[in-house]
Symmetry: C2
Subunit: 334 residues, 2 copies
């Protein structure tokens, strides 16, 4: 195993020390509970946004904490859900009196632990907590860690859009409705050229021989739809977009936000090659691209591969996407 | 070879198509000459900034084109210098009447081709062109493609800082002086855990056995100082920082910009682990960190590894670093 780490058991704690050192002021890190807080949390009168999940997907979620996006992110061990006590502490820490939104990817452990934390918060302080679960991955119905579809790339877009709505002062019910709309209007699918290696395991999560790729892979290396020979980027783009376009009518409406995401081991030059093919297919399919995002925002450690996410957007969603954001991972307008 | 590409010979052209599709308005791409232009180039009365070099280092340089940074970037083939005609067309395309700065990394082919282009421009149109060459890599004196030190991470910081100065309307001589100051005040060193594979070659540039790493590696996989067993991140940080701190007194003065850069195949979680160790060493060494940058900004295709760059900064440099920038690769304040 070749990684830039110290002890495999310290990876998450060490990375949080690095984030604290790199982003003083912007972030405040609770090292004991492994929570990344917005530096000025709680913001009085604003809906607080809490997300989190297993580590190994950076910049998601800790890198999306800051004005215009999340108020706190709970970092679990690598590929392991955060525990209820973490989510409880995060929720209490961002409670500015306007309620708290939990943004949860649909994995069994995450859903359960966020639910338990929400019950604890409500019992302790009466704070209103609403959870929105993302389940945008069209690859598989149920999977290793999931009942129903997995939550993947849409989560990034949802955190940005709901974060902007909360920053504008919209109330909890409205922010939660918006988040549900984003999840309902987004679809994703991913593929891997290589496995990743969980530090504590020390060996690749799965075997993927030279010459083969996994279509529909999950962000923890969960099996996808099928193994096929490595193909040109334009065919890979077809394999990912065809099921996405078949699942929801992206041609109707104002346009889409098209997101090509790297899984951690894939360089940007390849993501732009993929985006060229995605854009060409969308044009042929009569789908208008309103906004795009190309980069590694939801990773699977050092896995080589990518995912494609489409999100149907209207004017309100585009304005919220364009609104200022200042986080380590996404920043503009400020 | 597992890559998200079509034909190996089309990688650069395909990636430029992707950039054009992803950043309409912000960028204008001359596909024939493989030049990424700022959408509104030439900006009248502003010094034009042109850089470029071999592809495979994305987002450098094309991803640093936009207001507050470069006016144009010439994309060579992977790890191959752009040709003089490209640089000529780029220089003419950004000439707003205030002269043009060439920012050139110290590799023999790049230096020669930018020099030839500068002579051609001056002969054709009388445009004043000044070149600043970066040579911040402390690892080796001469190397496979270099007389003198190689130009690496400082180039990114220089393009941002000189870009901000040009945007403020400073004259060519002043922007060039500033660029030379940045280069003189910056030092870098890199390391690799794995090789990369040039698409046209189809096999790894060098062999790096399991359990070994290359200290002082170049951004094209050029040999570094030594092969050593893979070590914990804190020891790797020492191996990179010790020669940097020995080469220039970073303790004197106002502080440094500390930059931990990923080489393309290394995920962000590992870069933050590295940054934690870099920050700890700087604190012990009495070096104040004024600003930081953590991410993959100057890559070597899918190479796993990182580089560390320190830049001594004063108030003027910090203000220029903080000034608004809007490019695909670096963006804030706008």
């Amino acid at each position: 195993m070749k990684k830039l780490i110290n002890n495999p058991s310290d990876v998450v704690a060490d990375a949080l020390r690095g984030m604290a050192a790199a982003h003083p002021g912007l972030l405040r890190i609770d090292h004991e509970n492994r929570i990344v807080f917005r530096g000025d949390a709680p913001v009085q009168g604003k809906v607080g946004l809490v997300s989190g999940g297993g580590s190994g997907h950076e910049p998601m979620h800790g890198g999306f904490v800051g004005p215009g996006m999340l108020d706190a992110a709970c970092a679990g061990e690598v590929f392991t859900s955060p525990v209820p006590d973490q989510v409880l502490a995060a929720t209490q820490g961002v409670d500015g009196g306007a309620g708290v939104l939990h943004i949860v990817k649909n994995y069994t452990g995450d859903v359960m632990n966020f639910e338990m934390a929400a019950e604890m918060v409500t019992a302790e302080s009466g704070t209103e907590v609403v959870a929105v679960v993302t389940d945008d991955d069209v690859a598989v119905q149920d999977s290793l860690y999931t009942a129903g579809r997995r939550g993947v790339g849409v989560t990034v877009l949802l955190e940005k859009i709901a974060g902007a709505a909360a920053e504008q002062g919209r109330p909890l019910a409205e922010v939660a409705d918006l988040a549900r709309t984003v999840n309902a209007n987004g679809r994703s699918m991913g593929m891997a050229l290589t496995s990743c290696t969980v530090p504590a395991a020390g060996k690749p999560t799965f075997d993927l021989p030279e010459g083969e790729m996994e279509i529909g892979v999950g962000i923890h290396g969960e099996p996808g739809r099928r193994r096929v020979p490595v193909a040109p980027a334009r065919e890979i783009a077809e394999m990912l977009l065809e099921p996405i376009l078949a699942d929801l009518d992206f041609g109707a409406g104002d346009g889409v936000l098209a997101f090509v995401n790297g899984l951690g081991g894939t360089p940007l030059i390849e993501l732009y090659v993929m985006y060229a093919e995605v854009a060409a297919i969308l044009e042929r399919s009569g789908v208008t691209v309103a906004r795009s995002l190309v980069g590694s925002y939801m990773t699977s450690l050092e896995m080589a591969g990518c995912s494609v996410t489409l999100l149907k957007v209207d004017d309100d969603l585009v304005r919220l996407w364009d609104a200022p954001v200042r986080t380590p991972g996404l920043r503009w307008g400020v």
